[in-house]
């Protein structure tokens, strides 16, 4: 999952970056509203965490510009402006959720998880569950038939992406785009290695290879 964090307060941004990366998200960070408006619309993010009081361009204007262009990426507004009138303005501008500062980091992670699931039509599940698998995102482990299966950080990130897109054909470059932030070198071999490791742990049939097209996360009965 690749996120865009738009926050101009550097200490908070540092903290959030560390938190989010620790939870298996690839995060790009921007502090200026104009940069965010451009990059948010041109890169394939899965979710945006947006502050409202930004230099360059106010967060709400950035959000409106995205929505006017038809960008459907889920946006979570993270702001100190906590009056109900401002919350309503945020939702009207096209935000999907609204979290007010100060917040507990745990709360932000739960909101991001829920928002991602909702964006993929998997709302109202305590755990991400597809294809006979359950993914515990807090502990970064996978369960099948009540048995825990330990995952490395890389495996967890890939499996989460697969589980949020069950039955969809995903190319290697598409996977690389969503699993790594803009600064990491993208090596498609790494994806192949990770896919093979997941098959080793979860069974071969869980991920189907379509030659020349990519992978498909199976819907095992």
């Amino acid at each position: 999952m690749r996120l865009l964090l738009v926050e101009d307060h550097v200490p908070l941004a540092d903290q959030l970056l560390a938190d989010l990366k620790r939870h298996g998200y690839a995060v790009d960070w921007l502090a200026d509203g104009r940069d965010a408006e451009y990059q948010g619309a041109s890169e394939p993010y899965d979710l945006v965490v947006l502050d409202l009081g930004l230099p360059g361009k106010p967060g709400l204007d950035v959000l409106r510009a995205w929505r006017a262009r038809g960008l459907a990426t889920p946006v979570l507004i993270l702001t100190a402006r906590d009056s109900w009138a401002e919350r309503i303005d945020g939702l009207k501008a096209g935000a999907d959720d609204y979290l007010t500062k100060p917040f507990h980091p745990e709360e932000l992670l739960l909101r991001i998880q829920a928002l991602l699931r909702r964006a993929h039509g998997l709302a109202n599940q305590p755990l991400l569950a597809t294809g006979g698998l359950e993914l515990d995102e807090a502990r970064q482990e996978c369960r099948r038939d009540g048995q825990s299966i330990a995952l490395t950080a890389g495996e967890f990130r890939l499996l989460r992406y697969f589980m949020l897109h069950p039955g969809q054909l995903l190319s290697k470059s598409q996977l690389a785009e969503h699993l790594y932030d803009g600064e990491t070198e993208r090596d498609s071999n790494v994806i192949e290695v990770l896919v093979n490791r997941l098959r080793g742990k979860l069974g071969r049939e869980i991920i189907e290879t379509r030659r020349g097209q990519g992978y498909r996360f199976g819907t095992r009965p």
């Binding site: 908070l12 009081g53 100190a80 402006r81 009056s83 309503i88 609204y98 500062k101």
Partner: protein
């Protein structure tokens, strides 16, 4: 009541009444004086006629009854005379057996004399000499018909005056109403202003009202801008305080602190207190309070957005609905009302199992707002403590106490009342009664 219309009306009617009465009475006096002068002439001629009727006879002067008109013969005809000489006295037959209090002065008697059969008589006495002896001839004439007709004229005059007063009163009312129509429309607009259906007064008014309307509009704009400016400043302050607080809250989870649980707990407590205090005071500072409603709160426009926001924040399958009278405008500042309803509904959503309902109803003197949920509710003996300022009911559910604290602030700023009750849905019902500021007529 202090009404311009009434004052003007009373003044006009009093003036008309005094002038009308003086005019009526004065014209009657003048007319009567003229009439008496002409009657005096008639009566003098009458005495001359009687003098002619006195003819010398065998025993001195004799009254020739042939020369007297029939009116002196008929009893109580209203025409009487009396002739006094040194030796004799003649009286008209018409006097019959009654007598008058004949005056002793020559000329027209200034007062009327009582005659027979309730007649009031105008009496004239003249002195003559005939055949060497002095004669006093008095003639009396019934004045009652003239008095009667004067009475009639007076009555007619009063009636006319009354009708004129009525007509003037109505005309004046019409004129005042036409002249004051701009005032009336300004009054109606101020009422709309108070009900929150209008943000500014119409500036197309007569010259006399222009300064008033301009000044009111200026004040409205100024109040509005002050509110916006201070809210903006509070927003900035909140941003400046809360972002570092968020960083500090995040630091609580750092590994360095995990090794120091006592320190961590203390930090967490203190941070929690700062957060509570900052949120509460900033929320209070944002309130517009009782001052003015600005645009007011348009239920049909604001509630769908509020409920969409609630639905987005509480994404469980909650059934949220609201009921309000059609075209419902609550005459309170929009953001304050959103804050009140937002906090109450948010709180209800946190506790509800499946359903939250908002009901708005108009009362004769204001509005009743009800927020119902089907959550666990609050035991009767603890309901009062919740309504007190800032009381926190459940430390575990963040924001509960704070949300109701700001609710209490808003309600007290609006001089409203609120109560916690058992809801028919099974949970808690918060009922708020707000009396609308009535625009005095």
């Amino acid at each position: 009541m202090n009404s311009l219309q009434r004052r003007l009306g009373l003044g006009l009617i009093a003036a008309l009444l005094v002038v009308g009465l003086i005019l009526l009475q004065a014209s009657l006096w003048l007319f009567e004086a003229g009439l008496r002068r002409s009657m005096e002439t008639d009566l003098r001629e009458e005495t001359e006629g009687l003098l002619v009727a006195l003819v010398p006879g065998a025993n001195g002067l004799q009254l020739d009854s042939q020369r007297l008109g029939p009116r002196y013969q008929r009893a109580f005809s209203g025409h009487y005379f009396r002739i006094d000489s040194d030796s004799h006295e003649w009286r008209s037959r018409s006097l019959w057996d009654s007598d008058l209090d004949w005056p002793t002065q020559d000329g027209l008697h200034p007062e009327l004399v009582d005659g027979p059969q309730d007649q009031r008589l105008l009496v004239y006495r003249a002195a003559y000499r005939r055949g060497g002896q002095p004669l006093h001839i008095s003639v009396a004439h019934d004045y009652t018909p003239i008095l009667d007709s004067f009475q009639q004229v007076r009555l007619g005059g009063l009636t006319l005056l009354g009708v004129a007063l009525l007509a003037f009163g109505l005309l004046q009312r019409l004129a005042v109403r036409t002249a004051l129509r701009p005032l009336e429309s300004a009054r109606a607009q101020i009422a709309e202003l108070q009900q929150g259906r209008r943000a500014q007064l119409d500036t197309h008014v007569p010259q006399e009202l222009q300064p008033l309307v301009t000044q009111i509009n200026h004040l409205l704009t100024q109040t509005d801008e002050t509110l916006k400016r201070s809210r903006h400043a509070i927003g900035n302050l909140g941003h400046a305080l809360k972002t570092p607080l968020a960083v500090l809250t995040g630091l609580l989870d750092s590994e360095a602190l995990a090794a120091q649980p006592a320190l961590r707990q203390q930090l967490e407590e203190q941070l929690g207190q700062i957060r509570q205090r900052v949120s509460r005071e900033l929320s209070r500072a944002r309130l517009a309070g009782e001052g003015q409603a600005g645009g007011g709160f348009d239920c049909a426009q604001e509630l769908p957005a509020l409920f969409a926001t609630l639905a987005a924040i509480h994404r469980r399958d909650l059934k949220l609905d609201w009921q309000a009278p059609p075209d419902c405008h609550l005459p309170w500042e929009r953001e304050d009302m959103l804050e009140l309803l937002g906090n109450l509904l948010d709180n209800a959503c946190k506790w509800a199992h499946s359903q939250v309902r908002l009901g708005i109803a108009t009362l004769p003197d204001g509005y009743r707002l009800r927020v119902d949920d089907d959550g666990p509710g609050i035991p009767v003996d603890r309901r009062d403590t919740v309504c007190q300022r800032g009381a926190r009911l459940d430390e575990g559910l963040e924001g509960h106490g704070l949300g109701l604290g700001i609710v209490a602030d808003i309600i007290s700023a609006w001089r409203g009342e609120w109560q916690l009750q058992a809801s028919p849905l099974g949970g808690l019902r918060v009922e708020i009664r707000l009396s609308a500021v009535s625009p005095g007529r």
